[in-house]
């Protein structure tokens, strides 16, 4: 197990902002409104703020655990729970990281199949995307961080398309503020957490950050950036569609682009979805990197071989999973897993680390 990383493989602390932000905003950002709005209606934007607070708290705990430990999550598990039980817990997390990548991949292919090319085969499309992922991840973590940086900067122009919707927005739809029960808000917040999962890759890339302790503020910055984007898109969508119609749309963020018409392009979705490939890539690379890094740490395998294994399994599975129901089932499985890992496991690990890790140190 490798506990420290050579200095020239490390990244600047500020890149953590881009890593965290880009791994959070991927495919869920296209659909999160219609998951949350049926539960909490016009108050959904408040729900986002609550969820963001919670995610900030979890991030704080992650940093406390890692600051105390020696190395990444796999090392922490090893130190706290020993080789066998710690290894078992690590396998759960490795599976979780790989699942994030896989769900994003398959959901994005679904978007392409519904919005652009109904006949395109999932297998070939996955192959092309996964080869690109291999190319990035095999280049090492610095390349992954670089891709995440560009994957935030380049597609950010998409936010300007919101101006096209201004004429159709009625902000009365947001009123009256807070007319839902706290229980409904809580349920909506657990759903909203699905939009934030992925930031736990911090557990894996922590040793790769120069001056890692100082990067915590950038991680919080990344979460704040995601919250900002989610908030804008939620408010826009509620004002644009109204609460009732949201329940009849599948991809509210994409559906809003139907109104965008420019003199040189009749339908903007084609440009938008093509640009989205880059955003999806910044979801796939960190999560597949984290999974393969985990395998390398746990089983002392070559990381590149582990990566190839994960990618081939993803490739095969992605052509076996078909239709909206299966993809939805898979993605709700990921959401459940993310909910338990983020809101139960991480706090538990944090509390245990206060006792178990200190003893190791002394």
């Amino acid at each position: 197990m490798q506990r420290s990383v050579k200095e020239h493989y490390k990244i600047s602390p500020f890149l953590v902002l881009f890593l965290v932000h880009s791994v959070q905003t991927g495919i869920k950002i296209l659909t999160f409104q219609q998951d949350v709005v049926p539960i909490s209606g016009n108050d959904s934007w408040i729900v986002i703020l609550f969820t963001a607070l919670f995610v900030h708290a979890v991030t704080w705990m992650i940093y406390r655990i890692l600051d105390r430990g020696h190395g990444d999550l796999i090392a922490v598990h090893h130190d706290m729970f020993g080789k066998w039980f710690g290894g078992l817990l690590s396998i759960v997390w490795i599976f979780y990281f790989a699942l994030i990548g896989f769900v994003v991949l398959r959901s994005f292919i679904e978007v392409i199949q519904v919005w652009m090319f109904p006949e395109i085969s999932s297998f070939w499309l996955s192959l092309v995307i996964l080869l690109l992922v291999y190319y990035c991840v095999a280049g090492g973590f610095r390349v992954v961080a670089g891709i995440c940086f560009l994957g935030v900067i380049i597609p950010s122009y998409l936010l300007f398309t919101l101006f096209f919707m201004l004429g159709y927005m009625d902000f009365h739809n947001l009123l009256p503020v807070w007319n839902h029960k706290p229980a409904e808000m809580l349920q909506a917040a657990t759903t909203m957490l699905g939009g934030y999962i992925g930031f736990t890759v911090i557990f894996m890339f922590y040793p790769y950050i120069q001056n890692a302790k100082s990067s915590q503020k950038w991680a919080h910055g990344g979460i704040a950036a995601s919250t900002f984007v989610y908030l804008i898109l939620m408010i826009t969508a509620i004002a644009f569609f109204g609460v009732n119609r949201m329940e009849h749309t599948v991809w509210p963020t994409l559906e809003m682009w139907k109104i965008v018409t420019m003199p040189f392009v009749e339908r903007f979705e084609y440009i938008g979805i093509s640009t989205w490939t880059l955003i999806v890539l910044t979801n796939l690379c960190p999560s597949f990197w984290a999974a393969s890094r985990g395998i390398r740490q746990l089983f002392s395998l070559n990381q590149r071989h582990a990566l190839i294994g994960i990618l081939i399994i993803s490739l095969i599975l992605s052509s076996y999973i078909n239709g909206k129901e299966q993809i939805d089932a898979l993605s709700s499985m990921l959401d459940q897993m993310g909910l338990y890992l983020n809101s139960l496991y991480v706090p538990l690990l944090f509390i245990l680390s206060l006792f178990l890790l200190r003893r190791k140190k002394s």
Partner: protein, 365 residues
Amino acid sequence: MRKNVMSSLMLLLALCSISSGCVDPMIVDEIQMVSALGYDAADDGQLKITTAVPLYLPSKEVQTETYTAIVPILKSTPKFINAESSQPFVVGKIEVVLISSELAEQGVNSLIDSLSRDPYVGAQIYVAIVQGETQALLEKKLGQNDNGSYLSSMLEHAVETIGLPDTNLHRFLYAYYADGLDPVLPLIQLKEDKAAIIGTALFKGDRMVGHIPLGNEMSIFKMLLENSTKQDTFALPVSSSGDKKTYASINKLNSKRSIHVQMQGETPKITIYLSMEGHVREYSGTEKTEQIKPNIKEQLEQMIQIEAEKLIEQFQEAGIDPLGIGEKAKSRYRNWNAKKWEEQYRMSNIAVHVNVTITEAGVTK
């Protein structure tokens, strides 16, 4: 390492070219780009669908070709219509969808559903109701351009200048799904060889229940409906001292509207404020404009108020709410209830306040 990366890059390029071959190509010259769709009722509850496709002739003229099919369910249209055509149809360029008033009275939900479900159909397309048959309208040569783009530019122009409310597929769907708001659509008729806008069709849910005819009434309706409106004209009969009837034509520059809802126990009290700025463009009397200006202002205010209150009374009687008063009330009151509101709306007391400012009167005194 370096070699590894290069070879995977080459493989990637090769695969890109293979996988791009997986999708059927669509070449502009080899497809039929539908520009307008028409829905009519056929016998036994079936539908008659007319598609209009622009045909670009070598002489640079544009003609419209139409294909009509009678189908049991909407989505099977491509099959029936493709049976008549040498090239496949695509719907990505639809500009106008026409629905016959006969169908609209039975409900348009199933027709609109197939449009909103289709990712290739934009949200900015026009949907209009046709009094009579859509097939007959689409088969006429309406203008220099093909019928789809002709109708869409006609509607666009009408929204800007003759007081047609601004509608499109998105606005229709928004109003259809919203609580306390009913949709409206433009109403068109074939008059001799020309398509003409004759009013605004009113809906209750997805059923057409009546219409507002073109003229002062529709202009006032637009002012009540939209937060702010621009260009429009009013013809106003002015009673002057003599017994000769005189008319003034007023050019509206802009108008603003705000709706205030107040709950007095169970009955809501609703006040709509309209303010408008205009120019006098024509006056058939003999007095100087300075003398007649206050008179015109007063009578225009009165006319707008009476017409507006008459329209609102009609809406309350029919139980429809195209102005979205229910939606406004919903955003103000926490215990708003859609079922209860229906009754409250009917009982509610709606007043209209109008404020007209006449700024100029042309270059004649």
